[in-house]
């Protein structure tokens, strides 16, 4: 077998070596040695990025499956498989990240026996666990088809509507609950980010980022894998993203207004700079871009608008989890390099597994018009023929 040395492969190996060293430090020297977390900052980069952002970035799964199966938006059918793969992968990586962050990861199963229903984290934990299982079954047809296992495939397909509804229900709960985690800290979290509406913001941003990630990922993988990209799908997603961003922006504005801190926002301060960065990337740039029809019709324009929105909401969640606590803690939080390397190698692992899955499983082969991938659907007579669904 020939192995070609490319830049990305070398980079991947370097990241994995540094990540392995960091993992060694984590499990043999402890959390204090591997990270800059301390008693003032008990939650650092891993909760801020791996958990809060990771779950948000994997939200495309429930957004798109909701659109396709629940709302019956047929045109998006062709992207459901890569989106489900990303979501499933994202949640698996979140769990890997959690195993690094928990002080006693070998007791993670305690959640199942020592339940505390008052705890938001308990709710998040149970939902994430159940939803990852649901995503596993939503992903399973890829594997079953690959090995031509017909009858298990039939069973999975038969229960798919229930799985889809369950997946959206669970996502609604835990995406918003990630925001509820911070409701109990009104005196610690900076007023720019502490709001009774946090669960709504987290749910809203999950939908916006879910759409933005789907656009970003579709364009990116089309480029990388050289397969055909359905522009009409992207245009549709771009329109939905614009609406989602506007709703999010309106919610944030209303919140600032009703809590009477609109004046504070424009006064320069350490927190204000981070807030401006967040609002600029999440709202100002992508909403302005997407307001132009030209941008909404070009893959490149949609790509950069989505990228900006993604970065903006990532900044938002890091602000909630890190920047917002710096004044209370009395010092800045900058992750240690080993802490950062754990996060980077988890992301790199995600890219690697995604590439492998695309290579060996029927993720993209199932392009438009090949067959109904997951839910059995009868062809319609009364319906206008659509280019994306020629024949079954």
């Amino acid at each position: 077998m020939k192995f070609k040395v490319t830049f990305w492969r070398v980079l991947f190996v370097i990241i994995m070596i540094l990540g392995a060293y960091s993992a060694y430090v984590r499990y043999f020297r402890g959390l204090g040695a591997v990270s800059n977390m301390n008693d003032q900052f008990p939650w650092g980069l891993w909760i801020g990025f791996d958990c809060l952002c990771g779950i948000m970035l994997a939200a495309g799964g429930f957004c798109i499956s909701g659109a396709v199966y629940l709302f019956n938006v047929e045109r998006l059918h062709c992207i459901i498989r890569p989106v489900i793969l990303t979501a499933f992968l994202g949640y698996c990586l979140f769990i890997v990240g959690l195993l690094f962050d928990l002080g006693r990861p070998w007791f993670i199963w305690h959640q199942l026996i020592y339940m505390n229903p008052h705890s938001v984290m308990f709710e998040v934990g149970m939902c994430v666990m159940t939803y990852t299982t649901v995503l596993f079954f939503e992903f399973l047809p890829n594997v079953l088809e690959k090995f031509h296992l017909t009858w298990p495939l039939k069973i999975v397909k038969a229960v798919m509507p229930i799985l889809i509804v369950a997946g959206i229900l669970l996502s609604t709960l835990h995406q918003s609950s990630l925001g509820s985690l911070y409701l109990i800290m009104p005196s610690k979290l900076h007023p720019f980010w502490y709001s009774p509406a946090l669960p709504f913001f987290f749910f809203g941003s999950a939908i916006a980022v879910g759409l933005a990630m789907t656009i970003f990922e579709s364009v990116q993988s089309a480029k990388a894998l050289g397969h055909h990209l359905e522009l009409s799908v992207l245009v549709e997603l771009g329109g939905a993203l614009l609406i989602a961003l506007c709703v999010n922006a309106l919610l944030r504005f209303e919140d600032f207004y009703h809590r009477g801190i609109l004046g504070q926002i424009f006064k320069p301060s350490y927190e204000a700079y981070f807030l401006w960065l967040e609002l600029l990337l999440a709202f100002v740039i992508p909403i302005t871009m997407l307001s132009f029809k030209k941008v909404r019709l070009s893959p490149k324009g949609l790509y950069f608008a989505s990228l900006s929105a993604i970065l903006g909401f990532v900044t938002n969640r890091l602000n909630v989890s890190i920047t917002g606590f710096e004044t209370w803690a009395g010092h800045h939080f900058v992750p240690k390099w080993t802490e950062l390397m754990i996060t980077v190698s988890i992301i790199a692992m995600g890219f690697f597994v995604f590439a492998m899955a695309v290579k060996y499983l029927p993720i993209f082969e199932h392009g438009p018009g090949v067959s109904e991938p997951v839910v059995e659907r009868k062809p319609l007579r009364g319906e206008l023929p659509k280019p994306s669904h020629v024949a079954t």
Binding site: A33, N72, D101, Y114, R381
Partner: protein, 255 residues
């Protein structure tokens, strides 16, 4: 009856006997270097802070409705009937939500350990059960730290302020903060000077109530939202059935 601790900073002489007794009772090392540390940590559950000639103790406040107990996903913390907020280490998974949630930043972590525990003052539940005072109260030579019935201590604290109004800040710290605590503080200087968050900041509402408003809706939300989602599914897919039925009619029943 629920027990409590009253610390009167005006009686404190800063001898740190409470620190020493606390360390000994909890099996922690205590020497001059630990005594010199002016912050709480995983090996120092209580600290006597000194500023000019004023003193102030810091320790777990043992909230009436503790945030740590409410947020813990595995219920490793709970408030006992006697008053102490205690920690069951064998349940703990190490998520550190308790540390993030506590308004007084009391839970500390064993960052250097490979099997880390959360550490904080647990109000000597073993001693209290036997009817004894906490180690710190028993060790205090001036009575600055006093152990007793919570309600009586609160009354006593208010009496002391009433009898000597010039001597105290007119506020019993812990009476209303985050819905009330089992530890009360009296001081001649503002509590904020020693890092205690003011009641304007943390409020008199029990912290678990902030999440309670959302969490109590979850059991109702689940079936309702499932019904809505199911309804959307049914509606969105109904047009297919209708279209099919219509086309069946049109084509004289031949599919």
């Amino acid at each position: 009856m629920s027990k409590g601790i009253l610390y009167d900073a005006t009686l404190c002489i800063g001898c740190k006997m409470c620190e020493k007794a606390c360390a000994e009772h909890n099996g922690l090392a205590y020497d001059d270097s630990v005594a010199a540390e002016s912050k709480q940590s995983e090996h120092k559950f209580t600290v006597v802070l000194t500023e000019n000639d004023k003193f102030m103790r810091r320790l777990c406040m043992h909230c009436e409705k503790p945030a740590c107990a409410s947020v813990c996903p595995v219920g490793a913390f709970h408030k006992t009937a006697l008053g102490p907020v205690v920690y069951d280490v064998w349940k703990c998974i190490g998520c550190r939500y308790c540390m993030v949630a506590c308004a007084f930043a009391q839970p500390k972590y064993e960052w250097g350990s490979l099997n880390p525990r959360v550490r904080k003052c647990i109000m000597c539940p073993d001693l209290i059960k036997r009817g004894e005072a906490t180690a710190c109260a028993a060790a205090c030579p001036t009575g600055a730290t006093k152990f007793g019935e919570r309600d009586q201590l609160l009354q006593e604290a208010e009496d002391r302020i009433a009898q000597n109004p010039g001597n105290y800040v007119p506020h019993v710290y812990g009476k209303e903060e985050v819905g009330g605590t089992s530890v009360f503080l009296l001081s001649s200087v503002p509590f904020e000077q020693f890092g205690y968050p003011s009641i304007d900041k943390i409020g008199d509402k029990a912290l678990p109530e902030y999440t309670g408003v959302i969490m109590e809706k979850v059991p109702d939300f689940i079936p309702l939202w499932a019904l809505v989602l199911g309804g959307i599914y049914w509606l969105a897919h109904r047009k297919e059935e209708v279209a099919e039925a219509e086309s069946m009619e049109k084509h004289g029943g031949v599919a």
